[in-house]
């Protein structure tokens, strides 16, 4: 494992993008960052710019209006980049399957690495997803 991979595994920075979520997953993502759950102990930090981020956390069904912006944010992230789909509706449009303005899943728009299921997933589930992603990173690096 090189120095760059080591640094990446120890401090994956995340960016959060709401693509039309009900806010349920968003508040659970933020709750995962606050003292009770505290993902900062894994070196994870929420950053504001896609250019600083390693992991894109997407919440909510992808609406047709936001699709272009989502692709642009994804393209702005430096390689290697990872995508985490949080919530049922992000993975498969879930409760919004009958709505005319949403895509049937995030993987129709951008590639996805980890799916976290739940409507909304509990912060513990989100932490589990992040740890799985870190394991994937570790496996790819060694």
């Amino acid at each position: 494992m090189g120095l760059v991979d080591w640094a990446r595994i120890r401090s994956p920075w995340v960016i959060h993008f709401n693509t039309g979520a009900c806010n349920g997953c968003d508040i659970e993502v933020v709750a995962a960052l606050t003292p009770r759950y505290d993902v900062e102990r894994f070196g994870i930090r929420l950053v504001g710019s896609p250019r600083h981020a390693d992991i894109l956390i997407v919440t909510g069904p992808v609406t047709k209006q936001v699709e272009k912006r989502l692709k642009r944010v994804y393209e702005q992230m430096p390689e290697p980049k990872f995508v985490m789909a949080v919530g049922n509706c992000c993975a498969s449009s879930g409760a919004f399957r009958n709505c005319y303005n949403v895509y049937p899943g995030l993987d129709n728009v951008i590639p996805v690495d980890v799916y976290v299921m739940g409507c909304p997933p509990k912060p513990e589930a989100i932490i589990n997803g992040v740890v799985k992603l870190i394991e994937k990173l570790r496996g790819g690096a060694s």
Binding site: G24, A31, T34, V73
Partner: protein
């Protein structure tokens, strides 16, 4: 110096939700703002016409994840309005407790986000730590942290047994103490006062003219609260105070929300004390008779109205949601425009915007297409939408 326009969003660290604000800036001063919404439009109302009333409660709760119970409550209220059946008294009290616990969690969440927007992350972390207490109570009582699935047509799904009521009261005592501490902090802490005093002014006449609702209106001295003006659930039997402040700035909105949290705590205590015994649910027919119904309540952000038209089947013919943020968004350009002595700095934009507690997932309901380059706007008919977007 010429006016420069700065686009903020739809993905921006200061805004958690997709929305685009264009600020017109002259030097350091904001001289105007324009909003563009619609990134969050999913088409829930249309989907509602293809599902039964009970299935719609599931999707209504997911209109907004923060105040989902309010939407579920309004939809049940509108449906019960058409059916014309009274629900048991105990169910009314449990609904009130659910709504007020939701308000406590939402206002604490907002207080944390507001502290984050002014760069006071310590307060953000403290508030969110204490917010977990009310989340635990909600999980204990409804089985879930965010979407409660508590409301159903004809009552509530879950009763509150004695031991759970005692646990709720215990946490309310703890929270009462913590919230009072935060109120003192917001009044005394210089960092907060310097960032919030005199920022984001919305005068009383503007608030009335722009139809502001909820804490935004009450912070401008408009005593408008649906719980007091049109009592529903058990609000007519529980005394509470409609909190108003008249400094019209962000500090007033901060204090209105903190005082309302204290009021909510006392409502929960009172509701548990006065709760009558009896059933919590009555059976209602699956087929709703022809008619129209309206449900309204005071969400943490303001007034929510649901309108349902039934055509004698088990699916609604039309379901319309009117969320509070849509009303409050109109006051944002007014707050963000410098005029005379009132100066808006670029640094004040995030906290001014956050001060209305925006919830765009509630807001993006109506759809009107605008071609930005030509300025032409039009509304599509249902058959046009179907042709463009329908998938079987």
């Amino acid at each position: 110096m010429s006016v420069v326009d700065i686009p903020i969003g739809p993905q921006h660290p200061a805004i958690k939700e997709p929305l685009n604000i264009t600020c017109y800036v002259d030097g350091e001063h904001v001289v105007g703002a324009k909003l563009r919404i619609g990134y969050n439009h999913r088409g829930i109302e249309k989907a509602g016409e293809y599902q039964t009333y009970i299935q719609n409660l599931y999707i209504a709760e997911r209109i907004c994840g923060i105040c989902g119970i309010v939407h579920a409550f309004c939809l049940t209220q509108a449906t019960e309005d058409i059916i014309g059946k009274e629900i048991p008294k105990r169910a009314d009290y449990i609904r009130t407790i659910g709504l007020e616990l939701n308000r406590i969690h939402s206002h604490l969440l907002w207080l944390g986000v507001a502290a984050h927007e002014i760069g006071f992350d310590t307060l953000f972390m403290y508030v969110w730590r204490d917010r977990e207490m009310v989340m635990d109570v909600i999980e204990d009582f409804t089985g879930n942290r965010v979407t409660y699935a508590l409301m159903t047509i004809g009552g509530v799904r879950r009763d509150i047994p004695q031991e759970k009521a005692e646990r709720i009261l215990k946490v309310m005592d703890l929270l009462d103490e913590k919230v009072r501490k935060y109120k003192k902090m917001c009044l005394d802490e210089r960092t907060i006062r310097m960032r919030c005093d005199g920022v984001g002014i919305l005068r009383k006449e503007d608030a009335i003219a722009l139809c502001a609702v909820g804490p935004t209106a009450r912070a401008s001295g408009v005593p408008f609260d649906v719980r007091a003006d049109d009592p529903h659930a058990a609000y007519d039997e529980i005394p509470f105070r409609v909190v108003t402040y008249d400094t019209c700035d962000v500090t007033a909105r901060l204090l209105v929300r903190i005082d309302e949290t204290l009021e909510s705590i006392s409502i929960v205590r009172e509701a548990i004390k006065r709760m009558p015994s009896g059933p919590v649910r009555i059976r209602v027919p699956r087929v709703v008779p022809t008619g129209e119904g309206v449900g309204r309540t005071e969400a943490p952000r303001g007034e929510v109205i649901h309108y349902v038209r039934a055509n004698g089947t088990e699916r609604p013919f039309r379901w319309k949601v009117r969320a509070p943020t849509l009303a409050n968004l109109l006051s944002i350009p007014v707050m963000l425009t410098s005029r005379g002595d009132y100066v808006v700095n670029i640094a004040d934009v995030p906290i001014t915007f956050a001060s209305i507690d925006p919830c765009l997932s509630c807001t993006d309901r109506a759809i009107r297409f605008i071609d930005v380059s030509s300025g032409k706007s039009w509304v599509w008919t249902f058959s046009q939408i179907k042709r463009m977007y329908w998938r079987d």
